[in-house]
């Protein structure tokens, strides 16, 4: 075989493998999404039907009519405000760590180690605390917990991005008469726009996708979409359509957002350890 033919064969094989892999990895998502458009008869067909006869939106209609869909709104509220809070507090803290080495290496390490405490160990005492202060099933309670949970991540990531900003820029701004506070907002913040965007999105996704904190700390008022999904578990399997439709409502926004941030994905999910 000539080298050219050989190369073509290898390329064809690689494309075939890539297509096959993508199909396998996409299939569960496809299956989940399709169930939400099926009628009950199609969901419980044997042998299983791989696609709905028509795009049936009845399940979604029911979710909106019964108010179940408002749990997506709850997710949005707690994820949005906790992200905002974590980004603000985290950014100024990260600046201090990066520029003044406040607390030395120990403080930085202690902060990132907070991130790795297993949620189940934290949520249990927090629950007892929240019962005492009447914070169970309130927005404030959930937002506070997500903020704390995400802070180490924000601080760690932003510290890395701020370290990448050349010190000289800040020095010259200081010489020009800016105060430190102005330097942070007018020089450093714009310089790490990309890092800010990536960190914000990941922080948001963590809060949005959380289940265990919300399971313990919410009841009905501020239940998030992940908790709502599990309300359909267990009973008769009549709730498959709802499980699926709720999942789509919670997952689709995240898919759309991640499509715009491919570039920062690697650094974001590797906790900043890998600069993709």
């Amino acid at each position: 075989m000539t080298t050219l033919a050989r190369r073509r064969a290898v390329l064809a094989l690689r494309i075939a493998a890539a297509v096959a892999l993508t199909l396998v990895f996409m299939f569960p998502i496809y299956w989940l999404f399709m169930i939400s458009f099926k009628t009950a008869g199609e969901i419980y067909a044997f042998p299983p039907k791989w696609y709905p006869g028509q795009f049936n939106l009845d399940t979604y209609r029911v979710l909106f009519k019964d108010g179940d869909a408002t749990t997506v709104g709850n997710s949005l509220i707690v994820a949005f405000f906790s992200t905002l809070l974590a980004m603000f507090l985290g950014f100024i803290c990260a600046y201090s760590l990066a520029r003044f080495s406040t607390g030395g290496k120990h403080l930085a390490n202690w902060i990132v180690s907070q991130r790795m405490i297993p949620p189940i160990a934290v949520v249990f005492p927090i629950f007892l605390l929240y019962v005492f202060f009447g914070l169970v099933d309130t927005y404030i309670g959930v937002i506070l917990l997500y903020t704390a949970f995400n802070l180490p991540y924000v601080i760690w990531m932003m510290r890395g991005y701020i370290l990448d900003v050349p010190r000289a820029l800040e020095e010259s701004a200081l010489v020009d008469g800016c105060t430190r506070w102005q330097v942070i907002w007018r020089v450093v913040l714009p310089m790490c726009r990309a890092g800010l965007a990536a960190t914000t999105i990941f922080t948001f996704v963590f809060a949005w996708n959380d289940f265990i904190f919300a399971l313990v700390l919410t009841r009905t008022e501020v239940a998030t979409y992940t908790v709502q999904i599990t309300h359909y578990f267990g009973g008769q399997s009549n709730f498959w359509g709802k499980i699926s439709a709720m999942s789509v409502l919670g997952t689709l926004p995240i898919f759309i957002v991640t499509a715009f941030m491919q570039r920062y994905f690697v650094r974001g999910i590797s906790l900043g350890a890998v600069k993709g």
Binding site: R14, I15, A17, A18, L21, T22, F25, F27, P28, I29, W31, L32, L89, I92, C93, S96, R99, F100, G103, N109, S113, Q114, M116, P118, P119, I120, A121, V122, F124, P125, I126, L129, L145, A148, L151, P152, P166, R167, A168, E171, W208, F211, I212, V216, T226, I229, F233, S237, W240, S244, T251, F255, T258, F265, V266, I269, S270, L271, V274, K275
Partner: protein
């Protein structure tokens, strides 16, 4: 470039490599603490206070029926060692980790190798392949439980095609099948994580070394094990540790698929803690369990931190 000229970057590098002024100007000293203050306060409130509280409660004997806050000595801790269900939960967690993690790593590495060189539609393939990572774990657990349904799920159907006859496998009930089901969901969700990190690492391997090896006529395996593997080892370590930590606290996928069942066969340490604390309300004992988990994890975390500094 003219060797006599100095670029702006070089100036910046030179300036930033200068030692920072040892004594910050007046006001800056307190300012730097002002900046970290609020964040540290929140972390202490939500991160450290609970641990202290756990420690106190673990020495009392609070249960669902009785709130006894007298000092109970180490009773809860001695109970830890006698609790077979706890150690089984730890074992289940380790089993899932020991199988899922290598699978994710090898599969992720193979995929990274596949997508390393130019490929038509590469960016689109990668964009699609990362999607499982951002799906909420509880959603992926739910998805796989729908897929594994013995009658209305597609998996038994597909197996049936290969087997040539109708196949009914009870994935969430049959003791021999629940672990494969959990691991399948886990591997599906997190292999793309490994894939992305390793793809980035492979892309950073020094090309000239690879070319030199090719000129010397080194075989693929030799090049891979002698040049590529050492080069990506730091990233691999970080990836393994991040995933290892996540697997250690595995909750959502198991909760959605089996709730720890059948019986307590697939109970992980997080599921066990949840059941003890929020279904059986053995408050003080759960506190001891949670502290045990924290202590075990802290050791891994120390190690991870050192490795992360290395990879930066």
């Amino acid at each position: 470039m003219d060797p006599g000229r100095v670029s702006l970057e070089q100036v910046n590098d030179a300036v930033s490599s200068l030692p920072a002024p040892t004594r910050a100007p007046f006001g800056e000293r307190s300012f730097k603490y002002l900046l970290v203050g609020p964040a540290i306060f929140v972390l202490l409130l939500i991160g450290v206070f609970p641990l202290v509280y756990l420690l106190i409660v673990s020495f009392q004997s609070i249960t669902m029926t009785e709130v006894n806050t007298d000092f109970a000595g180490a009773a809860n801790y001695t109970q830890l060692f006698a609790d077979a269900r706890l150690w089984q939960a730890l074992l289940h967690t380790l089993i899932i980790t020991a199988i899922a993690l290598p699978l994710e790593l090898v599969l992720g590495l193979a995929m990274a190798q596949l997508f390393l060189d130019r490929l038509p539609g590469r960016a689109i393939f990668i964009a699609l392949l990362v999607l499982p990572v951002v799906v909420s774990p509880i959603v992926s657990g739910a998805t796989w439980s729908l897929m594994f349904n013995h009658r209305f799920g597609p998996i038994n159907q597909i197996i049936g095609w290969f087997a040539g006859r109708e196949t009914i496998l009870l994935w969430s009930i049959n003791p021999g099948l629940v672990y494969p089901a959990i691991i399948a969901a886990e591997v599906w969700q997190w292999t793309p994580f490994m894939f992305l990190l390793l793809l980035a690492a492979l892309g950073n391997v020094d090309r000239s070394q690879l070319e030199a090896a090719a000129i010397d006529g080194a075989r693929w395996w030799r090049t891979f094990s002698r040049i590529v593997l050492p080069a990506i080892a730091p990233v691999m370590t970080v990836a393994i540790l991040i995933r290892g930590l996540d697997l250690f606290r595995l909750f959502d996928i198991v909760w959605a698929l089996t709730q720890g069942g059948p019986g307590t066969m697939t109970e992980t340490i997080s599921v066990f803690t949840y059941v003890k604390g929020f279904q059986q309300f053995e408050t003080s004992y759960t506190a001891a369990v949670a502290l045990l988990v924290v202590v075990l994890l802290s050791m891994v975390v120390m190690y991870l931190l050192r490795k992360m500094e290395l990879a930066r």
